[in-house]
């Protein structure tokens, strides 16, 4: 299976810059990355390709609209039943 992410080292190799420079790009929020843990960072290949092409998402305008719909969060899920009270 093809990998879907790069490590910071692989990004550094691709850009011909240092590992620290890559981490700096990530820490500044410039290069999209997922921080799995303090020591593990993954850069999605799709995100890297977009970033390298110069793509930056257009900031969307967000509004609040009246809706007749609803969200059924948890609907259909088997919910935990009440436990018997322990006595004695």
């Amino acid at each position: 299976m093809n990998r879907l992410y790069y490590t910071p080292r692989e990004v550094a190799d691709a850009l011909a810059i240092s590992d620290d420079a890559v981490l700096d790009l990530i820490n500044r929020g410039d290069l999209p990355a997922i921080r799995v843990s303090p020591r593990i960072i993954r850069v999605p290949i799709a995100a890297f390709d977009l970033w390298r092409s110069g793509f930056r998402p257009v900031r969307r305008t967000v509004t609040i609209r009246k809706t007749t719909g609803t969200l059924a969060i948890g609907e259909g899920e088997v919910l935990p039943g009440p436990r018997e009270r322990v006595t004695g």
Binding site: L4, L50, R60, I64, L71, G74, P80
Partner: protein, 163 residues
Amino acid sequence: MIATTDRLLDYLADLVERIERYGAVVLQTDDDELGWGNDDRGDLLMDVRARPPLTVRSRSVQLTFQERWEPVGRDTWFRREYSYELRDHVRDYRRAFHRHDEARFVRTFDVVTHEHCEAPMGRAACAHYYCAPVASAMDALERLYDVWLTGAIPDCSALRCLD
């Protein structure tokens, strides 16, 4: 989690921007305008669906981010419920982080949040797994996107069953 109305408007814009920066596709917003739904109870509802970057494997993969915020004061909202889900129909698994029916979960398990893990989808060895609270939709995005990125089928047996 508590937020003002202005913060919630930014929060949703931030989420969509983050999704798109990861190369994923937000499914329901053809125009540039995104919205919170304001339902009959006065709650604010978020329902965002996205698909990972287009590859053969991602066509049947969906990420959903749903939240219900209720008013708790003047211009103040509380995130009462959430559901963040990854459904991969190709690899046949589901991961989900939930917060709903709080009183019932607290009474039964002494927890507010829980997780679902199904591999294959529709078959769960445990109905509810322990799950640390998810800080935000962005936090959920990172966690679920990483599950998809690794390409591995989740090992549900490694999670702690609540039931």
